[in-house]
Symmetry: C2
Amino acid sequence: MENFVFHNPTRILFGDGMLDSLPGELVPFGRKVLLVYGGGSIKRSGLYDQVTGLLKKADKEVFELTGVMPNPRTEKVYEGIEICRRESVDFILAVGGGSVLDCSKAIAAGTFHPGDFWEDLYLNGQRIDRAVPLGTVLTMPATGSEMNSTTVVSDWENNRKRGYGNVLLFPRFSILEPRLTMTMPREQVVYGAIDMISHVFEQYFSPPDDDNLSDELAEALLRNIRVNLDRSLTDLNDYQARSNLMWDSTMALNGLLRLGKEEDWQSHQIEHALSAWYDIPHGAGLAIVHPNLLYYIRKEAEHKLARYAVRVWEIDPAGKSEEELALAGLKAMRDYFNEIGAPATLGDVGIPAGAIGNLIDSINLFPAGYRSLDRDDVRAILKLSV
Amino acid sequence: MENFVFHNPTRILFGDGMLDSLPGELVPFGRKVLLVYGGGSIKRSGLYDQVTGLLKKADKEVFELTGVMPNPRTEKVYEGIEICRRESVDFILAVGGGSVLDCSKAIAAGTFHPGDFWEDLYLNGQRIDRAVPLGTVLTMPATGSEMNSTTVVSDWENNRKRGYGNVLLFPRFSILEPRLTMTMPREQVVYGAIDMISHVFEQYFSPPDDDNLSDELAEALLRNIRVNLDRSLTDLNDYQARSNLMWDSTMALNGLLRLGKEEDWQSHQIEHALSAWYDIPHGAGLAIVHPNLLYYIRKEAEHKLARYAVRVWEIDPAGKSEEELALAGLKAMRDYFNEIGAPATLGDVGIPAGAIGNLIDSINLFPAGYRSLDRDDVRAILKLSV
């Protein structure tokens, strides 16, 4: 096992009825709460009334930031920072999916930062030494933001989507009520699962391969996501499966799978360009990019793709070469993505082949994984995706 | 997934050279440090000099509690509490294996408790609302105490071994340097691994069985422990394997595997009686008790034992009944324990068959797992162990 430091202080309250814990969780924090949420879905579902009722019960003074969109944008962050500064907000409560959470983290990070949060933090990686504490009520399992310290935000005007991380951005608590995810449309369930799978891939398909536990855990997660996604797609009201999937999502990106691994994240970098230009769902972009990236690096990743085929897809290794196993694993992955109705080509999500040049120019590449990609590699991968 | 609350704030510094982080980790705490350790092994290995050197560098005033034995005893805890109270100790630094850590946690819990720590906390489960903060430098992977909030201590005079847990007892940090474990004798490596395996069993062999991730993670751990124990026993200097094993140990009991599970812990309760009477290594006792307990409840646990046989031992299920698979899994487990040189009977560790009556009387039983045991059941299990 390679060296690592692990520290994840987020408190998780998981299960039916856990929302009632909200007032208790808020006790250690000040009175002024910024409630951040997306569109009207939490109003339609009744969650908005529940949460505001509980905030009232907790005797909090509530400010609101609404209208956070998927692929959350810098404008909304500036708006939130402005409220936090003007009102001296004590705590940010994010109620929604990964976009609402990531926008909230950006606000938390930017409030006490004297300069421009986007320029200084997201583009230039400056450190912060203070942030507004935040908590979350999760309504969509996908990004894992509820138990990690990272955030991804888009500068829509310049088609740039960038991430930022700091230990101060771990949510103090996250309330995970599976029933709050039950209203997600089928398509969102699929995209969420692909996001989880892709998070696992980014950690799993990277050196070293040394009998470390992290690879075993990654395989356990990949199998479990599939079992519970299949159950969920058969019956979206299967609480057991939906709740299992919700915890899978958190575990896929709470820092455990990366321990002792170098990680990759090149598929995420490429996808960020897709959604920064075309505002497509992150999971849809990953479904297109990740299988093709793994196909493209199949020689360098052959041993791991072969292991993946056997351990995750239970493909019988008898009589097969490592190359054959790797290809069988890639095929199983792609077939499965097709079977669950994930997009397979840029055309499926309305991105014209002619856009590839622009996309490539805005990708933030760095050396990683089994094979570090240059712009020509990315072009080839995106051409596989046409 | 059943409801759960998860919160594990321990900071883990894992790997070669991490001991050098000690002064930095101690910055947030006061000047007076109680250094707790066992016998002379850390003096012989040079670790004592390293640690005291680093404490000096951190400008700490150091008090010492030495001579903590395996199956740590109440006397040593009273001694530590006395020092902490008299000197107003700010921080406890435990350097050693699980016994040193558990003794330190007991001191941390007892220092501010006005009554008798043993009577009030360990026997009657009273809550504490304050504890001395503590950190650890681990030298033996086994108990998982470095990343959990529980402690087990023995009242040797009355042959009682009991546990206590409180969120205040999570170590603030734990330094895990695999090289510090390299001096362990082979026997201790085996006992440590059996302790890990038994921790996984206590969580895995319990309801519910609902496609939850925790069971998948448990299987991942059981496979990984075996792979790395085999490598370690082939070459005790195999850093890769020893380091993997060290992280397995922490993950086996840091709270993740129990999520959504009812857990069992009856094997541990029975073993506690064995070591409270005969002061045997905890791992040795578990090697004797746990396989026989699982054999005894094989009907109630049949489905899970069958799954265990396939997933952990890769026994081909084709043409086998669930009962046959369960028995094959039990046999594989016992054969493996024999192969690695673990004791199989009470006689192997010098406990006479005639002692069973006394042992049974001191066991703290509670309903748990696939089958709750009464004293007759325990007698039958111990008779299987003769």
